[in-house]
């Protein structure tokens, strides 16, 4: 996870980049550094719903095979940003996107890109466990069947359930409805379902907000195991969760314009989780982390 970094990189936008560990915080302006192997390179991303600007001018790089947490108060646009990473915002008719999101160097908002293909590579796990009202087996097989999977489906289902740490609990009842499972198991089923299409990145939108603490810890353990194979971006309301699981943290805030009555999400700071939680460079981050607002 620790990558070599240099204090200044001329080719990196000077906004909210993680700073170099060696760079002193009080350098003036936003500290900057480099993530060598970025899955996403987001630059100047603005998402609007109609005339309402949900997030404004976001620039950050998401490191590969790490867990990046997006935190911040309600309405700061962290979910909007997450959903723009696999073009789920396209499904909202009034949403519009500016700026660029490079995924492995390619802009996923380019004209020639098929959003369906984007979503096959960048999977998503939602806030509320949402298994289909089908059997456990069919839930996992759903995506591979769509994509015309030709191999041994039984093996793929087992493998996906194993990776989601659910196999031991459901191996004897694959024909049971996915809805018969507990909330935590349902969420792991949804993770297995996302894994089954062999994505590269998994986006998680507050995956534990509907779960009890034990189930939450299981999902967090699972996330740490999964980062060997996947890049994970997680939105969370729970700062302890961000501190426990993530390697990098991006802190967002809401910019309230009282005159226009608008609330826009801004990226305040992006750094290693350790730094965000111990020596945040922006006062707002520190206030939020220490519970003074939000």
């Amino acid at each position: 996870m620790e990558q070599p970094r240099t204090a200044t990189e001329p080719d990196v936008p000077a906004s909210a980049e993680p700073r170099d560990d060696a760079a002193p915080a009080a350098q003036g302006g936003m500290p900057e550094a480099r993530i060598d192997d970025a899955v996403f390179d987001i630059a100047g991303l603005t998402v609007r719903y109609g005339s309402f600007t949900a997030v404004r001018d976001i620039s950050m790089r998401v490191p590969r095979h790490d867990i990046t947490a997006l935190i911040g108060p309600s309405g700061c646009g962290k979910s909007t940003l997450l959903r723009s990473l696999n073009r789920m915002n396209d499904l909202i008719p009034i949403a519009s996107t500016e700026g660029r999101v490079l995924y492995n160097g390619e802009d996923i908002y380019a004209d020639w890109v098929d959003p369906v293909e984007v979503r096959r590579r960048i999977g998503m796990v939602f806030q509320k466990p949402n298994p289909f009202p089908k059997s456990i087996y069919d839930n996992v097989a759903f995506g591979p069947k769509l994509n015309g999977f030709k191999g041994n489906m039984d093996d793929l289902v087992e493998e996906s359930l194993r990776r989601a740490a659910l196999w031991d609990e459901v191996s004897g009842k694959l024909k049971d409805s996915g809805l018969s499972l507990s909330g935590g198991q349902q969420q792991r089923l949804c993770i297995a379902r996302a894994i089954a299409v062999s994505p590269d990145v998994i986006l998680m939108d507050e995956p534990c907000s509907a779960l009890d603490p034990i189930a939450t810890l299981k999902i967090e353990d699972l996330m740490r195991d999964m980062k060997e194979d996947y890049t994970i971006v997680i939105v969370t309301h729970n700062m302890q969760q961000a501190a426990r699981v993530s390697d990098y943290t991006a802190f967002f805030t809401v910019d309230v314009d009282d005159e226009k009555g608008e609330r826009t999400g801004d990226l305040v700071e992006f750094d290693t989780t350790e730094r965000i939680f111990t020596q945040a460079s922006d006062q707002r981050t520190e206030d939020y982390i220490t519970g003074r607002f939000g």
């Binding site: 979503r119 998503m124 009202p133 759903f142 949804c190 299409v197």
Partner: protein, 330 residues
């Protein structure tokens, strides 16, 4: 002090008595309203069944519904004619079946288009147009069917089918008449389209957005989401809408009477004229002798039986599907 408190409490709990006087009256009113429905229904069933009884008695119930000959007598006191209602039952079921066959896929398509595909600015006008179709009086459908559709669309299309290889089958064979089962089925299909579309739209809209998004997030295309999530998830709604449409098709009268051809024999062909249960009643009631009126009432009773069976079946299907999708693999 405490004694005063108690008496005050007692007074306030007793209330003014206003509610106690008004409640029995209100209760009585709603009870009358509720029972009147049952009374009217029971009166209708008993009256029609009693009046139809001589015909059922003379023909036998089975003889009545399977008999193929309908020759009307003129007696005021006894059954002298022969009353076999099979041609009409056959006609009703045939045109209703084809109306459903045409309308259901079309309604599903329209509902999917409005809900899932149409751009926002088109949704509202399109939905209103479909709802407007439901408000057109059926006699207007009948007229438009007679003066336009059957001349310029249904008859030519029928001719085309009859002269194609399909026409070698008796069912699709010539001749193609202007007023036929085919014309009646077509007008029915248009008439039941709005109700089926409305119910389909409603059940599509109720599919949890979470599941739809989950499918999209796995790289499903719009078509795949509709086919694998939205439509299967709405099965009970589609069945419900179909049955409502079927109920309307079975009971529709005036448009059928105008378009089915009013021939009191049944024909195996689709493009041939026939008659239906409702249309024979409305076409022959005016100059029917008492015994013929009994026979028409017997048709009415039979139609009521059929619609009841259809409704019970529909509820059973919806209920079982609801149970199934709750706990098992669909």
């Amino acid at each position: 002090m405490s004694a005063t408190d108690t008496s005050t409490t007692k007074e306030s709990l007793r209330g003014s008595g206003r509610a106690r006087r008004a409640d029995p009256i209100f209760r009585g009113l709603v009870l009358v309203a509720a029972t009147s429905v049952l009374v009217v229904l029971a009166a209708m069933i008993i009256r029609t069944t009693l009046d139809a009884w001589p015909v059922f008695d003379a023909m036998g119930f089975w003889g009545f519904i399977s008999g193929q000959q309908w020759s009307v007598g003129h007696s005021r006191s006894e059954v002298t004619g022969t009353y076999g209602a099979f041609p009409f039952i056959y006609g009703t079921l045939k045109i209703s079946f084809f109306a459903i066959l045409a309308a259901v896929p079309l309604a599903i398509g329209i509902a999917l288009f409005i809900n899932e595909i149409a751009p926002a600015w088109l949704k509202r006008p399109l939905a209103s147009t479909v709802e407007l179709l439901a408000m057109v009086p059926s006699v207007v459908y009948a007229l438009v069917g007679i003066y336009f559709f059957r001349l310029y669309i249904w008859e030519p299309v029928g001719q085309f089918i009859a002269s194609s290889p399909l026409g070698n089958l008796t069912f699709f064979g010539p001749p193609v008449l202007l007023s036929s089962y085919w014309s009646a089925a077509n007008i029915l299909a248009i008439m039941i389209l709005p109700i089926i579309t409305a119910i389909c739209r409603e059940s599509f809209a109720q599919v949890p957005r979470d599941e739809v998004n989950a499918a999209y997030a796995m790289g499903a295309t719009r078509w795949e989401v509709m086919r694998k999530v939205i439509v299967p998830r709405s099965f009970s709604g589609i069945v419900g809408g179909t049955m409502l449409g079927l109920g309307r098709a079975l009971g529709e009268t005036i448009a059928i009477a105008f378009l089915i051809g009013a021939s009191q024999r049944w024909a195996p062909q689709l493009f041939f004229g026939g008659d239906a249960m409702t249309s024979v009643i409305v076409n022959t009631f005016a100059d029917a002798a008492p015994e013929a009126i009994w026979a028409l009432l017997a048709i009415g009773v039979t139609l009521f039986l059929i619609t009841t069976i259809v409704n019970v079946l529909a509820r059973l299907i919806v209920y079982r599907v609801g149970q199934f999708s709750g706990d098992a693999a669909l």
